[in-house]
Symmetry: C2
Subunit: 155 residues, 2 copies
Amino acid sequence: MSDNENALSRLTIGKVSTMAGLPTKTVRYYADIGLVVPRGRSDSGYREYGHEELQKLRFVRSARSFGFSVDACRELLSLYEDNGRASREVKDIALQRLQEIEQKMQELKSLHRELSRVAQLCPGDDAADCPILSTFAQSPGELARIPTGSDVGSL
Amino acid sequence: MSDNENALSRLTIGKVSTMAGLPTKTVRYYADIGLVVPRGRSDSGYREYGHEELQKLRFVRSARSFGFSVDACRELLSLYEDNGRASREVKDIALQRLQEIEQKMQELKSLHRELSRVAQLCPGDDAADCPILSTFAQSPGELARIPTGSDVGSL
DNA sequence: TATAGACCTTCCAGTAACTAGAAGGTCAAG
DNA sequence: CTTGACCTTCTAGTTACTGGAAGGTCTATA
């Protein structure tokens, strides 16, 4: 692994982002916000990434694909650094995310139901009135609740 | 309706937003971006909304709750202004939205599947290694797709 | 009439997580 | 030695609001 180590400890941003499956812009952004910082800089100022940073970037990419926020990734990453500790905490975060996903799916389901209902009513005729529009113009409470910011807190 | 018309054509932002079920901040924002502009201003500079604007705000609220973007609302609203024309166009937009919702639901489903799988592997023990972390650190392509900005909606 | 407090105004800044683009430096190949 | 791909920093834009400050207005009550 010593050969590999040498080769992998001098990755430019382009290479590491390809290997991690992220846009360079994103990797640079992660460096800016201190999520995954390069191991160092070359004489000419190029960011240098090593194997560990590559791992972290892959980690972040995956966690993001699971819907974890960047802040959650930061948390996860620090646990990851602690290596093997705090399995409990990690699992808790995952379970919480799972619940959020379930709730989001519920919302999408009812959205889909409502929208397909009104869409079916619509004749799709150039001349005719469109029931979609009149459905939308009703007073609140008769339709799916709007998900606003204040909603989350109070309900 | 003349009494009503008079009463309803002098709604302040607080009243109209309550009646539409939106935060005042949001209604002000909609005015700023020209989505739903007040009918006029009082002597003291207060925004004045009428019945028609109330209808539009309700319309937007509903459409947004269906996941339509503000831009889509603008489009819908202009069709709505045309009143009864272009049923075809409205239906098209709705059907397109429907497809996007379906796709998003698919994504959430696979996300849920993967995450619950790795979460189940995790013992939730303070001492033990957490498989969630090692799962995340794998190379790209083995896991769910990453949702980038081009993705539908928010999570 | 004074004043409290509920409402309204504007403007500025911030959110999440990037993305786009400009202006310019660096590096390897031909 | 030049071309073109790569790298740098910087600013600004995206979506759809939300929060807050500083200050004007309106109304009810003491």
